[in-house]
């Protein structure tokens, strides 16, 4: 979708590069940062359409950040998707419970990534509007 904004909060530069290149190639506008604190700041300011958040971050981890975003009225409406290499049973449940609206596991499937992101943004805004 053209013009949609995505904030990527991820500490591994290669992963950032992969995700943002893919999305940028499809017309998304991307900003990225490697710490949750920074990400929160940008999110409040920029209010992107989607926040792609890695769970395991240095300092504040993704779960906390998600909760923080949801707790803050200014950012509570933002769509937050979790990205993580942790793939244990139950992790998904925890993530969703923490406030993630969606959950993606690494390594990402590059073929479906963009479509998934699109879908997430659309369904979330539908949810909001309804």
């Amino acid at each position: 979708m053209n013009g949609a904004t995505v904030l990527i909060i991820e500490d591994n530069p290669l992963n950032v590069e992969l995700a943002s290149d893919l999305l940028q190639a499809s017309g998304f506008t991307i900003r990225s940062t490697n710490t949750a604190e920074e990400g929160l700041r940008i999110a409040r300011e920029w209010l992107p359409d989607l926040v792609l958040m890695d769970i395991s971050l240095p300092g504040m981890d993704g779960l906390c950040a998600a909760r923080a975003l949801k707790a803050d009225a200014a950012t509570a409406h933002l769509a937050i998707a979790g990205l993580t290499a942790h793939a244990m049973k139950g992790d998904e449940g925890i993530a969703l419970g923490a406030g993630f609206d969606a959950y993606l596991t690494k390594p990402i499937d590059t073929r479906t990534f963009v479509a998934t992101v699109n879908e997430l943004i659309v369904s979330h805004s539908n949810k909001l509007n309804s």
């Binding site: 500490d11 530069p13 290669l14 590069e17 992969l18 290149d21 490697n34 240095p58």
Partner: protein, 1051 residues
């Protein structure tokens, strides 16, 4: 002197002469002579003789026979008297016995003096003074004076000259003097008539008698004889004067009368004196005896007393008085039973009363209160004393204080109780048994352990004990027990016994000492029920084995995994490298960036995998150090080069401080480099751009260890994290750190690697950014350890007969083929089976040296254990696998798991030793003309794992030796046509065989020169009936060879 006395005596006699100076009343010289001989012995007779002669001369009596006769007579008389007295009656000179006196009177006075008289008379007759007709009267006339002399004079001299048993004191002397005065007075009075006229010649002869008796009784023989002498003297004097009661009509008559008076007086006196003396002496003896016994009685520590049947005390000894605290006077007369309190007296009283007449003695112990109100124990022994008529006269009580003894008894009992209680309550059972295991003492707690009471155990014998031992253990235990007695070897065994209820338990039985008890040697020991402990041990062992097996499994898993994991990475890294290198065409910027991303991620992954595997290997103990001596400086140089690119990228300056004179380090070079690289790269990674990394090398504890420090100016590590950083997957929690893409394993691995070398690693840091951290590790500069070089064995194939037989078990064809090929290549005779049934069947035919199975053959421990149980106990089950270096490993397993470390060669695994090089099988060449002997030796040799070559012919044997170069040659000397000596010569001659040790094994004994020759050339000479000596030699040789080999390697 004697002569003088005799002379004097003679003079005296002369004075007393009565009849014309020729006949005297008393002839003192005879008495003197007798006394002299009696007192001084026979040798004095010359004195007597000479004296007599002299007297005769001086007296004017014509010399001649008379004189001679007198002389002889006196001498002879004295001698004969003495002889008679001495020989016949054991006469004692002091005349203190009536017996002595009686015999004296009889023998001396009557018999002896007759001799005197005889000689005198004969002399007289022969000198013409008398005629033979007057013999009797003359003899009598001469006898009387002699007899009287013997009665009066001689005793006087004798008694005064002999030691007396009387003690003189002043009172006695005074008394004596009084007596003497009285005596004299009386005598004078009786023989004179001074008092009144008309009393002249009155028969008052008895007047002296009281005084005489007094003298005799009081003063003994001396008194008696003195009295007699005095009276005699006075009587004679009076008679000469013509006064006294004995004056008669004729001289002869008077002589006779007074003679008899004096004689009777003397004899009576002497007898009296002797009698009195006897009595006195007896009394003295009694009193002495009494004193002695009294002393004994008083000296007793026992209390002794005597009391009448009614209880009245008649005698108490010192101890008795002391006990009661009263004096003897106070106690005697008191009632014995009243000396004790009423209750205390009751028992003795009852005993005394009930003492039967026939049994006079009773003994009993009695507790009572002493006068100080302390409880004491006394042992009473009361004896009834009888009079001569059989009546009870007195009781005698001997009382002994046995308080101490009772106390000791009590203490002993208490002590015994204590120890018994102790022994009965400890879990160990104490026993004492003899050589045949007959138990003479067993602790009471045996009932708890074995179910048999101690009585039952004591009653049963050694055989019963042995019967209760488990049959598998019985022999071992019995042997050990016997060895205890015969060789004093320590007896410490564990075995199973059957309890009374049939249950089997394990006992740990030990003998602590052996000692002699009566005439039997016996052992003291303890045993303990260790069933539980054994179970624990077993469980522990199983757990350990399970853990080891798990570890083994994990390592194997990892080894497999490494292969699996690396394979895809090969593609990832490979292809991306190819792309990046634009090998097959150009790439645009983005494509290049992407393929670089792929490559870097791939490499990162590879590093991770390697680190994980390294760590896993180190943790499971499977990493081995391949040490060599290398130059530290050079290695540091290399490391510097490697990390320089990294450092330059970040603008970090590298500083290496390496002293020039570092000694070579003996360590695993590769791992050392790994440590260095890790620390350096960490330092660089965690230092921001423009920082500095410094490496310092120094020698610590002079020459003992190498110290290397890597310091950076990076972000540092907080003190609370110092320990954490060395743990796996721990990374410092900072954004900066995470960016560095570390594996998180580096320091953990580094720490392990350092510690494998026996070193230490530590970190210093405040955690302050800019100050960085310093990692220091220390490695000891060790001596070279024996090289562990897994060399692939070069199997020797022997075209000859006897090889150890191994059985290969493999359900997989390729495994089976591989193992068969490998082992037969190494010289074994290999047969194979594919499953357990076949395995079991094969054992019916032959028993192999070992069963070798591939590790893949068993899916689980359980299967392995099951397989193990199907194999006869003496045959080892060896598991084979290839380790990660593709090297063969053999390991012996039992039903409980692996029993030894693995080894690169089958032989070593079975024998449980490590060899670092050398042939797989040691070869022995046996040369003997008798095949039977070869067979015999071969059986044992094969069992020991040797490869056996044989030959019955000397020449063939030498050829074989040259072809195969065996390790040892066993040679019989007496081989026909080509005997042992020649074999030895030939072997020594050839350069390839000259160093082979030869053991001579012969049936015949060699004569000296042969022996000497050979001893110089061969290792040993043993005899065919001493096979064990041969094998001992073989072992010794092996040991030596191995030592040599090891020595060679280390040089």
């Amino acid at each position: 002197m004697l002569v003088g006395l005799y002379f004097l005596g003679g003079l005296l006699g002369k004075q007393g002469a009565f009849l014309s100076g020729q006949v005297v009343l008393v002839w003192p010289p005879a008495g003197i002579a007798l006394a002299a001989i009696l007192l001084f012995g026979y040798r004095f007779w010359p004195g007597v003789a000479v004296g007599a002669v002299l007297f005769a001369c001086i007296n004017g009596t014509p010399l001649g026979l008379f004189t001679l006769g007198t002389a002889i007579g006196n001498t002879m008389g004295a001698i004969v008297c003495t002889f008679l007295l001495r020989q016949i009656s054991g006469f004692s000179n002091s005349m203190e016995r009536t017996r002595d006196v009686t015999s004296y009177v009889a023998l001396a006075c009557f018999l002896g003096t007759t001799v005197n008289a005889a000689f005198n008379v004969v002399g007289l007759i022969y000198s013409g003074g008398a005629s033979w007709d007057d013999l009797f009267s003359e003899t009598l006339a001469w006898w009387v004076p002699n007899a009287l002399a013997a009665l009066v004079v001689a005793p006087f001299i004798i008694t005064w000259a002999s030691p007396s048993t009387r003690k003189l004191n002043r009172r006695l002397v005074f008394e004596a003097i009084c007596c003497g005065i009285g005596l004299v007075g009386g005598t004078v009075l009786s023989f004179n008539s001074w008092l009144a006229q008309g009393i002249q010649n009155y028969p008052l002869a008895y007047l002296p008698f009281p005084f005489l008796v007094w003298g005799a009784l009081r003063f003994g023989p001396r008194g008696a004889t003195t009295g007699t002498l005095l009276v005699t003297g006075l009587a004679v004097y009076s008679l000469l004067k013509g006064t006294g009661p004995f004056v008669a009509n004729t001289e002869r008559e008077s002589l006779m009368l007074i003679g008899s008076y004096i004689g009777i007086l003397a004899v009576t006196n002497l007898l009296l004196a002797a009698g009195a003396s006897e009595r006195r002496i007896a009394q003295q003896a009694v009193s002495e005896s009494e004193k002695r016994f009294r002393a004994i009685v008083e000296d007793q520590t026992d209390m002794i007393c005597r009391f009448k049947p009614d209880g009245m005390l008649t005698f108490v000894n010192e101890a008795f008085c002391r006990f009661h605290g009263k004096s003897a006077d106070e106690l005697v007369g008191q009632n014995f039973f009243k000396t004790l309190s009423e209750e205390d007296a009751a028992i003795p009283l009852s005993y005394v009363n009930s003492l039967p007449k026939e049994e006079p003695v009773v003994a009993f112990d009695h507790r009572l209160r002493s006068p100080e109100k302390v409880f004491v124990w006394h042992q009473y022994r009361i004896r009834r004393l009888f009079t001569e008529t059989g009546e009870t006269f007195e009781f005698q009580a001997v009382i002994q204080d046995i308080t101490q003894r009772k106390q000791s008894e009590g203490d002993l009992r208490a002590s015994e109780e204590k120890y018994r209680s102790l022994i009965d309550n400890i879990p160990d059972v104490v026993w004492t048994a003899n050589f045949s295991r007959d138990v003479s003492y067993i602790g009471g707690n045996v009932k708890k352990v074995l179910g048999y009471s101690s009585e039952e155990v004591l009653a049963s014998g050694g055989k019963q004990w042995i019967d209760h031992i488990h049959p598998d253990d019985a022999e071992r235990v019995t042997r050990a027990y016997q060895a205890l007695f015969s060789r004093n070897e320590k007896f410490d065994v564990e075995y199973r016994v059957r309890r009374q209820d049939g249950q089997w338990i394990w006992l740990h039985d030990r003998a602590l000492t052996t000692r002699w008890r009566d005439a039997d040697m016996c052992a003291d020991g303890i045993f303990l029920d260790i069933t539980q402990r054994r179970e624990f041990e077993l469980a522990l062992q199983r757990a350990k084995d399970a853990a080891e097996a798990a570890n083994l499994a994990k390592s194997q898993f990892l080894a497999n995994m490494s292969h699996e994991l690396r394979t895809p990475l090969n593609a990832i890294i490979g292809f991306s490298e190819v792309l990046t290198d634009k090998l097959f065409g150009d790439l645009n910027e983005r494509q290049l960036k992407y393929s670089n991303n792929i490559l870097n991620s791939g490499r990162h992954l590879l590093q991770l995998i390697n680190d994980i595997l390294d760590l896993a290997k180190v943790e499971s103990g499977r990493a081995e150090l391949l040490c060599n001596s290398f130059n530290v400086a050079k290695v540091l140089q290399d490391a510097q080069t490697i990390v320089k690119t990294l450092a330059i990228k970040k603008g970090i300056s590298l500083e290496f401080n390496v002293p020039a004179d570092l000694p070579p380090l003996f360590a695993d070079e590769g791992k050392f480099k790994q440590i260095l690289y890790n620390l350096l790269s960490n330092a660089i990674k965690f230092t921001p751009d423009g920082g500095r990394v410094t490496l310092t090398t120094s020698l610590g504890a002079p020459g003992e260890c190498l110290r290397i420090s890597v310091a950076d100016t990076g972000i540092g590590i907080k003190p609370e994290d110092h320990e954490r950083v060395f743990q796996e997957f721990e990374q410092v929690d900072s954004s900066y750190g995470r960016q560095q893409q570390g594996t998180g394993l580096g320091l953990a691995l580094t720490k392990r690697l350092v510690e494998m070398h026996g070193g230490e690693i530590m970190v210093q840091s405040e955690g302050i950014e800019g100050q960085g951290s310093v990692f220091t590790f220390v490695i000891p500069i060790q001596k070279p350890a024996p090289r562990v070089v897994p060399a692939l064995p070069t199997p020797h194939s022997h075209a000859e007969i006897l090889h150890p037989r191994v059985l290969v078990l493999a359900n997989n064809d390729s495994h089976r083929q591989f193992l068969t090929d490998y082992l037969s290549g190494a010289g074994y005779q290999v047969s194979s089976v594919t499953n357990d049934e076949e395995l079991r069947a094969s054992f019916n035919q032959t028993v192999p040296f070992a069963v070798v199975a591939h590790s893949d053959n068993f899916a689980s421990e359980v299967e392995l254990a099951a397989c193990c149980s199907k194999i006869p106990p003496r045959v080892p089950l060896v598991i084979f696998w290839c380790n990660e270096d593709e090297m063969p490993e053999f390991r012996v397993f039992s039903t409980n798991g692996p029993i030894r470390n693995s080894a690169p060669r089958l032989m070593d695994a079975v024998r449980g030793v490590r060899r670092s090089s050398g042939k797989e099988l040691k070869t022995v060449l046996v040369i003997d003309d008798e095949p039977a002997i070869i067979e015999l030796l071969a059986v044992t040799l094969l069992k020991k794992g040797f490869c056996v070559l044989s030959s019955t012919n000397g020449q063939a044997g030498v050829d074989l030796a040259r072809a195969h170069i065996p390790d040892v040659v066993i040679l019989d000397i007496s081989i026909p046509d080509f005997d042992g000596k020649q074999v030895v010569q030939q072997l020594r001659a050839h350069p390839s065989t000259k160093d082979i040790p030869v053991l001579i094994h012969t049936a015949t004994s060699l004569d000296e020169p042969e022996r000497c020759d050979l001893t110089a050339q061969v290792q040993s000479i043993t005899f065919k009936n001493e096979q064990e000596v041969l094998f001992a030699e073989l072992e010794r040789l092996e040991k030596m060879t191995n030592q040599n080999l090891e020595l060679e390697e280390t040089l």
